[in-house]
Amino acid sequence: MAVANVSAHDVSNHDHHDHEHKDNFITKYIFSTDHKMIAKQYLISGMFWAFIGGLLSVLFRLQLGFPEMDLSFLRPILGGWIDSAGKLDPNFYLALVTMHGTIMVFFVLTAGLSGTFSNFLIPLQIGARDMASGFMNMLSYWFFFISGVIMFASLFLEKGPAAGGWVVYPPLSALEQAIPGSGLGMTLWLIAMTFFIASSLMGGINYITTVINLRTKGMSFSRLPLTIWAFFLTAVIGLLSFPVLFSAALLLVFDRSFGTSFYLSDIYIGGEALPNTGGSAVLYQHLFWFLGHPEVYIVLLPALGITSEVIATNSRKPIFGYKAMIISMLGITILSFVVWAHHMFVSGMNPFLGSIFMFLTLIIAVPSAVKVFNYLTTLWRGNLRFTPGMLFSIGLVSFFISGGLTGIFLGNSAIDIQLHDTYFVVAHFHLVMGAASFFGMMAGVYHWFPKMFGRMMDEKLGHVHFWLTFVGVYMVFFPMHYIGIAGFPRRYYSWTNFSFTDMYTDLNMFVSVASIITFVAQFIFIFNFFYSMYKGRKASLNPWQSNTLEWTTPLHPAHGNWPGEIPSVYRWPYDYSKPGAKEDFIPQTVPLSATPESNLPHENKLVQLEKEIMAEEGDVLVANETKES
């Protein structure tokens, strides 16, 4: 361990010198290998995609809330997708839903969230100069970029982008005869996702190696901030599950283009019987959800990690049950691989499998519940500062509860018969995954903005943004529970064909209006973000009085993060309001030997050990200096 650290210091020191001399615009802002710049690239891209994804949802909410509306005014943007009567094309409606889902799940909440905060925080919080491989990290971003360009281009195809839902189940996604979007649009979807998977894998490998190998002296796994634990486990999940999505996609490519029959069997379409036999459409669903379920935790875990950090800091209290939090995240990581078929209770798979997956699914609710209780106990008897980051974290906990509880209905296969593919599911996953992760991301941006740009975002605008969004999200998704219980199916262009769904026009209108308000409210954030980047109040070095390492860097850390030695770590990151201490926080870099007044009994024993380490550190410093001169 010590050896790895020393050599890492060395190498990156070199890096550091190099860069100060030859950074130009391109290497600094575009093909940067600095994790901080790459993080910002991910963040800005994520914001761009969130805007696109949100805009698409506003378009289809217009259709659902105001089915009679004349949409001709959208013709300048949508062209032929608006017919002569001013109505949205049903095929394009499906394309909108599909692209909205794909963009939000993968581009915003996977790349935008993990990409931003894993990149930004891992080196800063574990005390490393940069990622294990800066070059691969840069490649990871640019693969994501290419993926985005391809996906974006597919929006403008004459026959439209992919339209089979974000899960792109074959045969619909395999047969161009079935829906126009399954032509070139689907091809581009598959290519884009291939680049995306490659990008995720490169990012993930980097996160994992960095966390394992480049922690600074004293930063044992039991002293890692929960953010890092979350990013680490997220990367592990991604590394194990994305390749399966790749294989699912690859077989789909074969079926589409090379006449194989992995997923296709006994199909008569467009007046013609296809030659494919022996394939299984359900096989694709197994492969897809083997990624798909872990993916929802890939999206959620980083948000939970960020929340843990933000809540602890702003409650001025240690996170309650640090070990329990880690164990529940480990539990979620492992269990997330064995619950996938709960998405397939009524897919026609063997009902016995359904029973097994029902048991496994409800087990995963236990660690989720533990996390909620731990957050609540962290707030209990705290001294809460409602920074925007804190507000968004509390909002996340609320969404996580609301959406997690409906998971208990859906995980029960008997109840899921009725609820599957209705708006109840839409409500469930938008709250627990969409809104919760989005709020985690927002909490992260507000909390680490000062470290990213050296300035503060405006608090009051942050508060307004929070309340509008928090109330807005509930107004959009809470009514969907009722709509779902009433049996309204998902991905319906219109509900007037059925008498059991020929109601709730008022409620759907309400949801649509709420979604537009919530969407517009995000511009407060956009304004705050870009305005504060240039004009915000100058941040102090540790504006939230936080314990973690990133706040020990200069206001504008250069490539390499710390100008001198990387600080060593002597304690866990949650020493807030420790009895006896003068301040209500003790940064990780403060040795136990410097705080005899607040040490707990077992910590006093560690003081001796610590002194030895510091002596050793001194030797290394001397050795380094002699080497360099």
Partner: protein
């Protein structure tokens, strides 16, 4: 025109945000409050959490009760009573946790808001608590799962021998309905045999098919087991009969099934709801393309006698269209002719 209006609107919005922003920064700088923590806005946020708790909680209760009859779909199958009971038990359990955790979340946020001279408690862990709140959810969930599992096993158990068979075949964008006729045996099919006159690809060399007949509605008897044999011809579809609490995907190349016992006739349901137009419906819940939202069929539940009478009145495929069996080998043709010539 709209474009212009929208851009003006957006511009105005940005201006307003900017003005508000400027004014309040100036004020906070003037008051020197930008360095304090226990500000009014901290207090306002704390209060807003309570307002939200009470306001949103109240709205939820009010709407849930007021609208109950609207979102609660009437049940028309025996297993539906069981699954709905499970649903409402789960609602009670999760509803309790939902309310409890939210009261705690927002109450703590309000009550423990920042105070200058206060210090938070240093309370990093408590193993007893952790164990309790791991075990309690585990036990509660186990109870829920076991009851769900029992229901699920019953629902998915093999259909009784005497169940009335109905075949539903999904295609873009409708359901084709086929009955096995008096022998209660559906004839074989092969998708390669599909033609304009034989849209289900029925194999008429199988004599079980001779008495098979088509229908425009799913007619089934009340109180007797019914077995839906489900398949798809082109892409995935899913049979959803909301009042029956029934859903099952239709998969090309892999026939699926779902059996149930309807427990209310359409007429009874009409009377109960006071709605003369009421029909049980089938919808599609697996996205299948352009017309996904319009794959409607009606289920008519009737008294068993009425059902038998209706079945007896139906004409087999081959009677309606003798062409279908024109090329059969002689002895099969003879058999088929019996059905065709039957009165």
């Amino acid at each position: 025109m709209y474009g212009l209006l929208i851009s003006i609107g957006v511009l105005l919005l940005i201006l307003v945000i900017w003005m508000v922003y400027r004014i309040q920064t100036l004020i906070s700088v003037a008051k020197g409050s930008d360095k304090k923590i226990a500000t009014t806005s901290n207090k306002v946020n704390a209060i807003l959490f309570m307002v939200f708790l009470i306001g949103a909680g109240g709205l939820m209760f009010w709407y849930s009760f007021k609208e109950f009859d609207n979102y609660q779909l009437p049940i028309a199958s025996e297993h539906g009573i069981v699954t709905d009971r499970l649903f409402w038990i789960t609602t009670a359990v999760t509803g309790f946790i939902f309310i409890l955790t939210h009261i705690l979340l927002f109450w703590f946020s309000y009550h423990y808001q920042y105070k200058e001279n206060k210090r938070a408690a240093y309370y990093p862990d408590n193993n007893k608590l952790e164990v309790i709140w791991t075990l309690v959810p585990a036990v509660v969930l186990t109870v829920l799962v076991v009851s769900g599992w029992k229901a699920w096993s019953d629902i998915t158990s093999p259909a009784p021998e005497d169940a009335h068979v109905v075949e539903l075949m999904g295609y873009q964008f409708a359901w084709d309905i086929r009955y096995p006729g008096p022998d209660n045996q559906l004839g074989d099919y092969d998708y390669r045999l599909t033609t304009a006159t034989n849209s289900r690809g029925i194999d008429f060399t199988d004599k079980n098919s001779f008495d098979d007949f088509a229908a425009q509605k799913v007619v089934i008897p009340k109180g007797e087991p019914v077995l839906f044999k489900i398949r798809a011809r082109d892409v995935l579809h899913s049979v959803f009969a909301p009042h029956m609490r029934l859903k099952m995907d239709a998969v090309p190349g892999m026939p699926t099934r779902f059996w149930f016992v309807p427990n209310k006739t359409t007429a009874e349901m009409r009377q109960e709801l006071g709605d003369e137009e009421f029909e049980f419906e089938i919808a599609c819940t697996e996205v299948c393309g352009n017309g996904h939202f319009s794959m409607r069929r009606v289920i008519e539940v009737v008294e068993p006698d009425e059902y038998r009478k209706w079945v007896a009145e139906q004409e087999p495929f081959i009677k309606r269209n003798p062409e279908l069996v024109a090329d059969l080998p002689a002895e099969l043709k003879e058999l088929a002719d019996i059905y065709i010539n039957e009165e």
